[in-house]
Symmetry: C2
Subunit: 206 residues, 2 copies
Amino acid sequence: MTDKKGLLIVVSGPSGVGKGTVLGKVFEKRDDMYYSVSATTREMREGEKDGVNYHFLSEEEFLKIKAEDGFLESACYCDNYYGTLKEEVFKRIDKGINVVLEIEVQGAMQIRRKHPEGVFIYILPPSYKALRERLLGRGTDDLDKIEKRLEAAKWELTQIDKYNYLVVNDIVEEAADELNSIIEAEHLRTPRVYDAIQEMLANDEI
Amino acid sequence: MTDKKGLLIVVSGPSGVGKGTVLGKVFEKRDDMYYSVSATTREMREGEKDGVNYHFLSEEEFLKIKAEDGFLESACYCDNYYGTLKEEVFKRIDKGINVVLEIEVQGAMQIRRKHPEGVFIYILPPSYKALRERLLGRGTDDLDKIEKRLEAAKWELTQIDKYNYLVVNDIVEEAADELNSIIEAEHLRTPRVYDAIQEMLANDEI
């Protein structure tokens, strides 16, 4: 017996911590998950697909949706807008799908103010050293950029007390199991199941 | 990465719901659990063992411990005292053991007032009908007593919003998995792991 609605799951963590890998494992385990696709006004890059990597919008479209309060959160980076479309999220939650947003700290806190019922999870590296090694190992960033990412990680770690759960990604499989347990347990929390249980017992004569 | 302390887990549910069976399955799965033994002033029955079924105390001993604030909760039924010794619980929690108290609603609420960090779980039957059948099937109570137990169950169900989690025991194995997920997830909640994570990152140069 669990609730009939999906969870709004917000996952943050420093660049290089392996959020995508851990979430990938969770998605392999469960068939009730959806990975939310963000909207952006930045140019589509080669190999990207609209609706898969991002929902690519013109600035005009983006600002119109924003004016109509159509975003769960939005931000502007490097002259481009990014945001999470409400439409992307709530129609799925109503159907019982757990919707995962992979999002940075400020965006997560924007969402938390309006949706405290969301499940806010921060994924940590086992150490800064491990994080640096992962960023170096990826080979996508130069050293200067890696130092910037580590500085950002350091700041983010002062914000982790605002999340509901802290998961350390040391062994991917273990971190994925932990995320899975969080999802299972959250579906059993009283405010989520109370109505369904009252309904279950209502047609039932003592 | 989880916290180093055990959880204070309080489990309630109507008589006949199968709390013992579900908890038994959870104990098979995990080696970090302890089932708290209550103290009582009632007479030891045949086959019972001191320290196993109960800690059997004289009324004088019980009241002395109570006066010294040595109980987490206590109550008097049918002229006998029952209670949970603090000593039984906290030394184990400090060693990382999850301590389970199987206890009725009033006792659970006594504990919750002083220990809101506890994990309060209510186990429900899939229906009143199922509960009645289980009570009849046990064959330990006469019909009059069964009706009283069902009335008590009905009252208890008005109190379940005070628990953190609601678990329906329809299929024992599923209910046990759900309890297990709750335990896993609770160990990852930010207030429990925050200090351990700060410690983990402290010796680590960025």
